[in-house]
Symmetry: C2
Subunit: 309 residues, 2 copies
């Protein structure tokens, strides 16, 4: 199974309103809820691709119970979340009917107590031996040490389990030094890590800092990968219109599935790019359109150079 | 005990953000939750005034469980809510730190099945004999018949229990004809019911339609009452600055507590007006400031004429 870690899970709520106008009252015409936080999004896409997935991290309160109820309805994902006393955060996406634009409201995560963090570490150690790969995704809730991901990377590596990391800021900086197999920053996160706004240079720099492979997501421009086997750029066939929510998490799922299936890098990148594009095109945020995915997969351009052996 | 009925209960959530800007992302700095829907607000204020209160209506889903958990923490209120399969709605009030202004997002209520409505009617009939008064408050969720309040008024009257009604539109129109003891519309609801925008004329007209007493809430101008004993106007001592959320529900609690304590109308109206004003002045939406209430109570002006016996 593939193990996904979401320390700051969320109950993602989407509201449709006619048009959001500050300081007025709105009747919400439609409410949708799904389990959220980057790692749970990755788990859902991996399961849709046919992989067996176990999702761990934290969940608590009424919102955590609801998140777990929704997760139980997601075929292929096993719930191994660890209870916390605090309540799982909500995120609210308010979509305007008129413009299609989204206004986002994100609650802070619950405070995690030292004993709760300890309980998570025990659960993670129990789960690692059965994992074919691990994804560490998203922000850290308050109370979790800033070096958390660095520890989790080291633990995975000591079990010989490949690990992908998708986070930002100081947690990313520390975890990169622990030598994860893949890091997947976006352009801003990569620039913050390396100080360089030039993606080619920055991906190389991130490798020097410890990451074996760096896959930078450049939004509509696709993916840029710097790996021990070579450097590649994967580009979607056309500029896509739609909702980019969750597109990065679909790319992560594409990379991980390609990793456990031992695909060569160009195929992993094509899959990740097509999944990401098919997520932008899907009507519901964070879902992917399977027909679009299969069609796009053949049309992603992957160019690059293979390193000398 | 006083019985409050909230068919469309809510989990009221308040978010603080720096400043709400449509189509951008916001970090919520503070989250507060409380049991909501007009009848639960009335119950909370009645309990704070020292009355024994039983709250019925519907609650369902994760949001309903949370609402009941919060209600259990409210001393003096007994939970007699009836379960429904659908989820209790959320209301989200987004308060700007910079301006203090509020943007409101209101989910629709859950669909109520005929069997669930039947279960509620059974519960209501069980509770009525022990009630000293009943408050019927707020909107009807989908699936509840539009004549619901008319039925509930008739059932209360057949048990000899005085009934106060605070709703709007067609449910108000039908229930007024069932001869409730008090209706408490605001100026817009009263105009919709009677077709008159002149409050004095409209309160008289609402009495002719069946209400024994009509107490119109005129916002900052206070209350206007037309009753079998006479007509009165109650005015707060000064224009108040603050958050008017829940001020109308505090007035309802004031009227009800005055009714069960057999206070004369001018005292009921003074209490309702002072409670309403003390709610506007309280820092948290829907709470009232007890010191302000006691101080304001002596300063509310009640003027009017007593009917000839």
């Amino acid at each position: 199974m593939i193990l996904t870690v979401t320390l700051n899970t969320a109950l993602d709520i989407t509201y449709r309103v006619r048009s959001l106008r500050p300081h007025t009252s709105h009747r919400v015409s439609e409410v949708a809820e799904r389990p959220g936080g980057k790692g749970l999004n990755v788990a859902r896409v991996l399961a849709a691709l046919g992989h067996e997935v176990t999702a761990t991290g934290f969940a608590g309160g009424a919102t955590g119970r609801k998140t777990r109820e929704l997760l139980a309805d997601t075929p292929g994902v096993t719930d191994a979340l660890v209870p916390v006393a605090g309540a799982t955060r909500r995120t609210i996406a308010v979509v305007d009917d008129l413009s299609g634009d989204t206004t986002q409201l994100n609650e802070p995560g619950p405070q995690v107590a030292p004993a709760e963090w300890g309980a998570f570490l025990d659960r993670y150690d129990e789960l690692l031996p059965a994992a074919s790969a691990v994804a560490l995704c998203g922000s850290l809730p308050p109370g979790v040490p800033v070096g958390a991901y660095a520890n989790l990377v080291r633990a995975a590596r000591s079990h010989g389990v490949p690990v992908l990391l998708d986070t930002s800021g100081e947690p990313l900086r520390r975890a990169v030094a622990a030598r994860p197999d893949i890091v997947k920053p976006n352009a801003d996160e990569l620039a913050e890590l390396t100080g360089s706004h030039e993606p080619l240079r920055a991906t190389q720099d991130a490798r020097r800092r410890g990451a074996h492979a760096v896959v930078a997501s450049l939004g509509p421009q696709g993916l840029l990968a710097a790996t021990p086997e070579g450097r590649w750029r994967a580009t979607p066939p056309a500029r896509l219109h739609g909702n980019p929510t969750g597109a990065g998490d679909s790319a992560t799922a594409g990379l991980l599935s390609g990793l456990v299936e031992h695909l060569p890098w160009p195929e992993r990148l094509a899959r990740a790019t097509a999944l990401s594009a098919a997520t932008v095109l899907a009507p519901a945020a964070g879902e992917f359109d399977r027909t679009a995915y299969e069609e796009l997969l053949a049309r992603v351009a992957v160019t690059g150079e293979v390193s000398a052996a």
